[in-house]
């Protein structure tokens, strides 16, 4: 799992003479944004890497992925051998053929992220819901994986 993320560089947009202010904007963002902004994945190299949160409860795991602007049929979630895999493709919603692009920061296209979970999961009970651009996956643990309370006896 990658823990360190970097600020995404916008090398894909070649700045024209009138847009050198973009560089200044980037530097401003670097200094005035909270540290979480600095830790975004270097997406120029690896493509779109949606942000993930993984939480563990007594009896289940919760994984939340930020996938704004997608259709649920374009999202694939699969679980195999202890690894949860989220992939899909984001297509542009509206066509802008005669439009001039002033700023393009959003990513489109394929993505894939895989998370290994540290305990056994009941694969047939995994649920996924997509709301407000956030995909929430609930993975219940198997009975054996749930923490058991062990009584201490004194002889």
């Amino acid at each position: 799992m990658n823990i360190i993320k970097w600020q995404r560089p916008r090398l894909a947009n070649v700045p024209s003479i009138g847009r050198l202010s973009d560089l200044r904007d980037e530097i401003d963002r670097l200094f005035e944004s909270p540290l979480t902004e600095l830790t975004r994945t270097s997406q120029l190299l690896s493509g779109w890497n949606p942000a993930l949160d993984v939480y563990e409860e007594r009896d289940h795991f919760t994984v939340k992925a930020e996938l704004p602007g997608m259709k649920k049929e374009d999202i694939e979630v699969s679980f195999h051998d202890g690894s949860l895999s989220i992939s899909g493709e984001r297509k542009t919603e509206t066509k802008h053929e005669d439009a001039e692009v002033c700023r393009s920061e959003r990513f489109f296209g394929r993505f894939q992220r895989t998370v290994s979970l540290p305990a056994a999961v009941a694969a047939d009970q995994v649920k996924a819901a997509y709301k407000d651009g956030v995909l929430t996956i609930t993975l219940p643990k198997t009975e054996e994986a749930k923490p058991k309370h062990i009584d201490v006896t004194v002889n």
Binding site: P34, V101, E105, R106
Partner: protein
């Protein structure tokens, strides 16, 4: 001369304001321009219509998105999503007709349509005899 939607230039601000701005994250945007107007798409996952606030002040538009409450129980093993709410300020092209700006929200993406005023659109002028 063409003016474009751009992020607000930083000006010297009192210390309190910068501290409160530090709790926001700027959403990624795509901006398109056609002869009829501009279209802005801002990514704010976790924000729905109720959490969205768009304010217009003179020629500046501020988009603020507050995440719906997401209390997740359990211990976090891995966190990449920013905990902060979203905010970004844009300076508008004076050609935009601010009374006709419309917005809609879909799956965490805000679609803002900013039409240009009628008189600014390019139009043909017929030459009389």
């Amino acid at each position: 001369m063409k003016a474009t939607l751009q992020k607000k230039e930083s000006q010297p601000v009192p210390a309190e304001r910068t501290r409160s701005d530090a709790q926001y994250v700027a959403p990624d945007v795509n901006i398109y321009e056609t002869k009829d107007g501009y279209m802005l798409e801002a990514e704010m996952p976790g924000v729905n219509k109720e959490g969205l606030e768009i304010t217009l002040e003179g020629h500046e538009i501020t988009i603020t998105g507050r995440r719906g409450d997401e209390v997740v129980s359990g211990q976090s093993l891995f966190r990449e999503r920013p905990a902060a709410d979203y905010r970004r300020v844009f300076e508008l092209d004076p050609a935009i007709d601010t009374a006709r700006i419309s917005a809609r929200m879909n799956q965490g993406v805000l679609f803002l349509t900013l039409p240009k005023s009628e008189q600014v659109k390019p139009r043909k002028i017929t030459v009389g005899d």
